[in-house]
């Protein structure tokens, strides 16, 4: 099995814990990295890249003290090394302009408003993981338990 990571960025520790707890169902196959700031996240993704591992989904808050989440996601989007990495914005405080920026310049794959619905978050992460695995050409068979059926069938239908 390849090492495929999920990354959560959230400046409030208790909120971060809540997100990670909701994603615990994936933990067995997809280790979750917890970051409290964008700066920390950048070192982690560099580590992941250096070690030749996969970064499947980044779940980011928007309003954070050092650098805001959307700016980070814009940079990530422009970074060729992470072109298959999926981006999920999880925020309650994005303005209209922020949202437009997130869609146009960061090409975020999903947007969830806080407070979030646990099932919905899990469903989205499941879909994004499935897309990441199939688009990156990773052998999907060990991960079937965590994959989204519909997405899987659609992608596998193509030869």
């Amino acid at each position: 099995m390849e090492k495929i990571f999920l990354l959560c960025i959230e400046d409030q520790r208790e909120v971060l814990n809540a997100v990670v707890e909701d994603l615990a169902i994936f933990e067995e196959a997809f280790p979750i990295e917890e970051c409290e700031s964008v700066a920390e996240a950048i070192t982690v993704i560099e580590d992941i890249y250096d070690a030749g591992l996969h970064l499947a989904v980044v779940i980011s808050d928007h309003v954070m003290p050092d650098k805001n989440g959307i700016d980070f996601l814009v940079e990530l989007h422009q970074d060729e090394r992470f072109r298959n990495t999926k981006k999920l914005l999880l925020t309650g405080l994005a303005t209209h302009a922020d949202t437009i920026n997130a869609i146009n310049n960061a090409a975020v794959d999903r947007y969830i408003a806080k407070p979030w619905d646990k099932e919905k978050l899990q469903g989205y992460v499941r879909k994004l993981l499935t897309e990441y695995i199939l688009e990156s050409g990773i052998d999907y068979q060990p991960y079937l338990k965590w994959m989204d059926q519909e997405t899987l069938y659609q992608k596998l239908r193509k030869y």
């Binding site: 090492k3 280790p31 990295e33 982690v44 580590d47 070690a51 591992l53 052998d139 068979q141 079937l144 338990k145 994959m147 059926q149 519909e150 899987l152 069938y153 659609q154 992608k155 596998l156 239908r157 193509k158 030869y159």
Partner: protein, 517 residues
């Protein structure tokens, strides 16, 4: 930070890789006379080492199976070709053996069988791109009504039909995407759910038998047995139909339906633009040409280029679509062909045959034994790799057995049966006499070209026996294929794994996995 710690988890891959490197290396380095095969040459010893490397890598899978195939070709070029490393080109006179021509090894990457598969891929890619698969499924499902049991039969026949031309996994995924919206509405306690879900990978795997391009193990079989597309379908399709019916009965019995009716909703309207029609027509024409090669004389391999040419000319398949071609399947098969070619050309095959005494084994026992071995192996490893390895060994075994029968002056038809078992090798005259009209055509790939030449000299027909020969040949082909392909209705294969996403939704599933044939 625990991130670094996570990276250092030990892996069993390294151990497996070590075994797969050390064993062949040992075989390569030991003195020639340690290997108990009479008349062995240095080049043949290297082929044995490559064979062991391939076998271990395919069985243990420390690297992807297609990587092993490419490695086989690469090692053959480095060790036993006339462009090998300089120190490998010479050896003790007398026992060195003959090097292969490098072009012959490289040619396995574009052998006729590979092109046949390429044609199949083009058909499947075009059909998926223009939504033909789903539309056709909708049309074909209509007559099966709403009775769950009949609908299941419909689903199975259509899945089987599609998987004759698509990969088994793609056919499974396509049909499950049609089925899954309905299954969500079915009561979770209804055991019929399991039947409906399982029916699809069952049918997909069975359908894969139906045509030479249905699934990759068929390509390996085709390398050893000289059959045209139509001849293959003539025995395989009835076989698929019977087993399909049996599976349907078994599933119905094991998982009786409680639901009264089931309504499939198939998405999408049929499109009727120029390109869609062109895909339909080309698809139909290609199959028709494949089935009528007796009338027009073009062999299956050339016909496979019809969809390739037409779809590219009409821009139905563009350069982005070309990237979807499953190169790994093509190269996996090439490696198998290259290994067979090396064993044949270097003379290892013949030496193997003469050094082992098979005289106590009857053909029927052999078929049974190989069937069981294939069944067991394919449970744990790739079907294509299983076919690759078993047919390499089986072929020589069968070949020896035929020689034994020759010695006893058995009837020609029995002999012919063994030609088929061994896959039409037969450099000896006796087999050629009984080989009948088909062998005159010389469509086979991967054989020695020089043998292709003397095919023309063989008697073209044995008229009085022709009819009997033909029926016996078909029957024997049946036996042979069934023995190798019993493996196909076994869990562990990819299409079943795709179904495992259902595991969460119906708990009985893991039990099903281990209790069904």
């Amino acid at each position: 930070m625990d991130f670094k710690k996570r990276l250092r988890q030990p892996s069993s891959k390294q151990l497996k890789a070590a075994v797969a490197i050390l064993v062949p290396l040992f075989i390569l380095l030991i003195p020639l006379h340690w290997i108990p095969i009479a008349g062995l040459t240095v080049v043949e010893q290297r082929v044995i080492a490559i064979f062991f490397a391939a076998a271990l890598l395919w069985v243990l899978e420390p690297i992807p199976i297609y990587a092993t195939s490419i490695l086989v070709i690469f090692l053959e070029l480095l060790l036993i070709s006339d462009t090998a490393l300089l120190p490998f080109r010479e050896g003790p006179p007398g026992s060195f053996g003959e090097l292969m021509h490098y072009k012959d090894i490289m040619a396995t990457l574009a052998s006729p069988i590979i092109l046949l598969f390429l044609g199949g891929f083009f058909l499947a890619i075009a059909a998926t791109k223009y939504g033909l698969d789903v539309q056709l499924a909708a049309v074909l499902l209509r007559p099966f009504g709403a009775n769950p049991s009949t609908v299941m039969l419909g689903l199975m026949s259509i899945t089987a039909l599609f998987s004759m031309f698509m990969s088994n996994t793609a056919a499974t995924a396509m049909m499950l995407s049609i089925l899954s919206p309905i299954l969500r509405e079915v009561d979770r306690q209804d055991r019929g759910r399991a039947a409906l879900v399982l029916a699809i990978p069952f049918a997909a795997n069975l359908g894969g038998l139906g045509t030479p391009i249905g699934s990759p193990p068929n390509a390996i079989g085709l390398n050893y047995i000289d059959l045209s597309f139509g001849q293959w379908m003539m025995f395989a399709v009835p076989f698929v139909a019977v087993i399909l019916l049996v599976s349907w009965l078994v599933l119905r019995r094991l998982f009786p339906f409680e639901m009264k009716e089931i309504r499939l909703k198939v998405p999408g309207k049929p499109r009727s633009n120029f390109k869609t029609r062109a895909v339909y027509i080309t698809f139909g024409a290609t199959i028709l040409l494949w089935l009528t090669d007796v009338l027009h004389g073009i062999n299956s391999y050339t016909i496979a280029l019809v969809p390739v040419a037409v779809f590219l000319v009409l821009n139905i398949i563009n350069k982005e679509d070309l990237k979807q071609i499953s190169w790994e399947v093509l190269w996996l098969v090439s490696g198998g062909i290259a290994l067979g070619l090396a064993m044949e050309r270097t003379g290892l095959a013949e030496h193997l045959v003469h050094s082992i005494d098979f005289s106590g084994l009857t053909p029927a026992f052999m078929v049974l034994l190989v069937g069981v071995v294939a069944l067991v192996m394919a449970n744990f490893m790739s079907h294509t790799a299983t076919a690759n390895l078993l047919l390499l060994l089986y072929r020589h075994w069968a070949y020896r057995c035929r020689a034994w029968l020759n010695g006893r002056q058995r009837r020609h038809c029995v002999n012919d049966y063994l030609c088929l078992l061994s896959g039409d090798v037969a450099p000896d005259k006796h087999a050629a006499e009984c080989a009948g009209p088909r062998y005159g055509r010389g469509q086979g790939a991967g054989y020695d070209q020089s043998r292709g030449a003397d095919r023309g000299d063989r008697p073209r027909t044995l008229l009085p026996d022709a009819v009997g020969n033909e029926s016996i040949r078909i029957f024997c082909a049946y036996l042979r294929i069934t023995s190798d392909y019993w493996t196909l209705s076994v869990p562990g294969a990819q299409p079943y794994r795709v179904c495992e996403t259902w595991e969460g939704s119906f708990p009985k599933c893991p039990v099903v996995w281990h209790n069904l044939p």
